[in-house]
């Protein structure tokens, strides 16, 4: 019953460092998403993927990169961490069958850039 697993749960980075946020799912969902959540702002879409090998930008992609080599994994990369990237990051998945399917969320990664 793992669903969507995000690692790490917490991380503190220094400005200019890089890191990869991991997201893996065991539900065989084709669609995967990365969001960031800032206080009072709801969730903003960073990148999404409709299947292995296919990714596209969301609303706030600057400063991030993604890859999707398998159905299960969708890592998010920060190359040069900046204080503005301090946020809570959520990975989510949904099925391909039909539109308007609910998204399933991981528990988030809380990232601080100092």
């Amino acid at each position: 019953n793992a669903g969507v697993t995000q690692t790490p749960k917490f991380r503190i980075l220094k400005i200019g460092q890089s890191m990869t946020l991991q997201c893996t799912q065991d539900m065989n969902h084709n669609y995967m998403y990365w969001y960031r959540q800032d206080p009072g702002m709801g969730l903003k879409l960073i990148y999404y993927s409709v299947g292995a090998g296919i990714t596209d930008k969301g609303e706030v992609p600057n400063g991030y990169n993604v890859s999707r080599s398998t159905t299960e994994d969708f890592p998010l990369r920060l190359e040069l961490a900046a204080p503005s990237q301090t946020s809570v990051y959520f990975c989510a998945t949904s099925t391909l069958e039909g539109s308007n399917q609910p998204q399933h969320f991981g528990d988030g990664t809380r990232l601080s850039i100092l």
């Binding site: 709801g42 999404y48 998204q103 528990d107």
Partner: protein, 113 residues
């Protein structure tokens, strides 16, 4: 483009009293609408969704929402609040193809004993 406005950033109710969380949407087509709940330090969980079937939608934990096209609203209600309902609630609209979501800013619900 579609958008969502949650009219209250914070709502406080007493345990056992009704809950009303207000949401207005804007969409150029017939939208799909969702309510998600987020408990502290957790991901979001789907409460209910509207996809052009019945206008009154029932969800988990006794919540329901009514789609009113004339008012472009999708308010979330519950007849009697429980302490465990304390959380942040998000009203969400999907894009035309139903695969990308646009989130409201959230409403924090506080339940007093």
């Amino acid at each position: 483009a579609q958008s969502v406005t949650q009219l209250d950033s914070h709502v406080s109710v007493s345990e056992g009293t009704p809950v009303l969380l207000r949401c207005n949407y804007s969409s150029s087509y017939s939208p799909s609408l969702f309510w998600y709940v987020q408990h502290p330090n957790k991901g979001l969980q789907l409460l209910l969704k509207y996809t052009s079937a019945a206008t009154l939608v029932k969800g988990i934990n006794g919540f329901e929402a009514e789609f009113k096209k004339s008012e472009t609203s999708f308010h979330l209600t519950k007849p009697s609040a429980h302490m465990s309902d304390a959380a942040e609630y998000f009203c969400v609209v999907s894009d035309l193809y139903g695969n990308k979501l646009v989130f409201g800013a959230g409403t924090i619900l506080r339940v007093k004993s």
